[in-house]
Amino acid sequence: MNRTKIKLLLGNIFPQLLLILVMLIMVIFLSVASPFFLTWDNFRNVFDHSSLYIILALGMTFVISSGGVDLSVGAVAALSGVCMAVAMQNGLGVGTSILIGLAAGGLVGAANGSIISLFKINPFIVTLGFMSLARGLALIITGGIPIYGFPRAFTWWGSGHIGPLNPPMLLAAFMAALAALVLNMSRFGYYTLALGGNEEALRRSGVSIHLYKIMVYLLCGVTAALGGLIVTARLNTAEPLAGWMLEMDSIAAVVLGGTSMKGGRGSIAGTLIACLLLGILRNGLVILSIPAYYQQLLIGMIILSAVIFAEVRSRKGLASTHKKERSTAV
């Protein structure tokens, strides 16, 4: 019994271990291939860039674990950044403006969740709708022209310094720790996974499906808004086009990290590592001066191979647990 438990645990973190291994191989390769890769300045870049992806991917991990998907996060990031900018333009304080932006993100998230849950519509379609809606709103509010120039207290969130690190990195680390706790230790996390694993069973056990689904998407909306805060603060500009394709980047990271697209299984650690891996890859390809065409090709290849690998593994795992169940039943 104990042995199988250990085996199960090892089996669960195996994909993440593999990711770390791949990441190490990449780091070694890139360090040998280019003298510009393994420097603190460059790694600071990688962490700085990855922090945005990490924060968005955390919310996405919850959504995907619950069996859904959220395509609106990139647009929501832009919209909430624009809301913060407009609030500051109208003389509101930095803190209040940030809260308004986060609320806007949460609102879109809650709307996503409500429609998906109450009307039982495919999340792909609903969030696709909100992607367009949020992007449209961001363009309308700004009139297509970026809003520029914010107080230092605001831009600190993107370009400030905390020792050798900066606020986005620390925010990402903090959020990741929080997300890991919530997903693995709290009732909300448990229900999120259950939503993806077996929604019907959860419903029959008397849990309010609607409430938890809405909460999952709300959380994702808020993390998207946090991403919007970082982008807007870093550039000192609220762009209606910010966060372009960010939804794809975060979905890719989540899936690469070992969270199942079918729901029921999610790994915050995996998401974190996958974001760093993709960050290193993107950075390394530029450091090596590899043309943009190949960059997209390689990123696509890596995501595909990871997904195929995970799928094959999960099928085998399923088969073996079935066997075991049967044997214990007998």
Binding site: L18, V22, I25, M26, F29, A33, S34, F36, F37, T39, D41, N42, N45, D48, H49, L52, L139, T142, G143, G144, I145, P146, Y148, G149, S159, V231, R234, L235, N236, T237, E239, P240, L241, A242, G243, W244, M245, L246, R282, N283, G284, L285, V286, I287, L288, S289, I290, P291, A292, Y293, Y294, Q295, L298, M301, I302, S305, F309, V312, R313, K316
Partner: protein
């Protein structure tokens, strides 16, 4: 168990493949850049006839290009030392647009001609502002003496430029502007800027259209690029001013085509639906103008409508010759990219350069397209 090992091995193999591919493409050597990646549009640019032009007085067919090159070179004098092998990084917008593909080749050719090392990088798509900044940051981590950058939006590259400034890398801004104001606030600066006058481009096209419409005037429409993008706003503003000042000319629609062929096609068909009597469409680039021409042709309404683009990509050149497109506004990509590299070299070698250099423009239409044979 064995099975597991095998799969793991396969996975590893894939990564070594990735690494291998990375190794292949790694040096920014000119041969790697010469690959036939272009979307056909770039092919004409590849004809290697600039050696000829450079030495002799050149054949008469290149007179326009030469004229423009001379104007610019006079502006740039005194010239820096060449063949010094400096490494210059170039960040363009995207290789998904034939214009930027042609620019990339222009840079690489000019780099070879000037005897310097040039590496051209790009964002994956025209709208991906954050990836472009990330690419710039990674470039700054390398050992370039100067970087020539063309931003997607005025603000998206600002933090990266500041980092380059701090590291002592010279930054030249080509084309769409990087906001100087935002840079100043962030503690950075530009070492030079070369651009074309976008408003002038729009105005030139609109003036041609107004003249062709004659005193009767008529309804005109503008298809913009991405709202907020410098070229798009400038060209639109220039065209709008001229159209508004003209008698009997009415702007019935200004729509964002996002530089995208498909979007522009749909907009053009919609405009035609709403205004069957439309007389002219000005598009903020050639890709969209070609799409608009296709849309009108598909509806059987191409006759009697003037369609004008900007950039004079080679596909547009063909289209103007065939009469599919009425015209475009050209600036020589070859001269433009070469000038940017010369400016970069000058700053690296400590020459003073003017704050802003404009690349000269030329209007191409059915009437004069023959003079543009061999234009790059």
């Amino acid at each position: 168990m064995k099975e597991k090992m095998k799969r793991m091995l396969a996975f590893m193999l894939l990564f070594s493949l990735v690494a291998f591919a990375a190794g292949c493409g790694s040096p920014a050597s000119p041969p790697a850049s010469g690959e036939k990646t272009g979307t056909g549009a770039a092919e004409e640019v590849k004809e290697d006839d600039d050696e000829v032009e450079k030495t002799a007085a050149g054949p008469a067919m290149n007179s326009k290009a030469q004229e423009i090159e001379q104007v610019l070179m006079d502006q740039l004098a005194p010239l820096p030392e060449f063949n010094t092998g400096e490494k210059i990084g170039v960040l363009i917008i995207t290789l998904a647009n034939p214009f930027w593909v042609a620019m990339k080749e222009g840079y690489e050719k000019a780099g070879a001609e000037l005897g310097i090392e040039v590496a051209v990088m790009a964002a994956p798509t025209e709208g991906d502002t954050k990836s472009q900044l990330e690419t710039l940051d990674a470039m700054v981590a390398r050992d370039y003496a100067a970087i020539v950058a063309s931003p997607i939006e005025p603000f998206n590259l600002v933090p990266g430029v500041v980092r380059a400034n701090k590291k002592g890398i010279k930054v030249i801004n080509l084309g769409p502007p990087i906001s100087k104001e935002a840079l100043k606030e962030a503690g950075g600066w530009l070492d030079g800027r070369i651009t074309v006058d976008y408003e002038e481009q729009g105005a030139m096209a609109a003036e041609y259209i107004v003249e062709k419409l004659g005193p009767a005037g008529g309804k005109v429409a503008i298809i913009q690029g991405i709202p907020g993008a410098g070229q798009s706003e400038g060209r639109t503003a220039g065209a709008k001013k001229v159209f508004e000042a003209a008698e009997n000319v009415e702007i019935v629609s200004i729509q964002p085509g996002n530089w995208d062929r498909n979007t522009a096609y749909n907009i053009a068909s919609n405009i035609l639906q709403a205004h069957p009597d439309i007389r002219a469409i000005f598009c903020c680039n050639d890709v969209m103008a070609l799409a608009a021409a296709d849309a009108l042709e598909a509806a059987g309404k191409r006759e009697g409508v003037i369609i004008f683009g900007v950039d004079f990509i080679s596909e547009a050149h063909e289209a103007i010759k065939e009469g599919k497109l009425d015209g475009s506004i050209a600036y020589s990509i070859r001269v433009y990219s070469k000038a940017a590299l010369i400016l970069a070299l000058k700053t690296v070698q400590g020459h003073a350069i003017p704050d802003e250099v404009f690349s000269p423009l030329a209007l191409v239409s059915k009437e004069n397209v023959a003079e543009f044979e061999g234009w790059e």
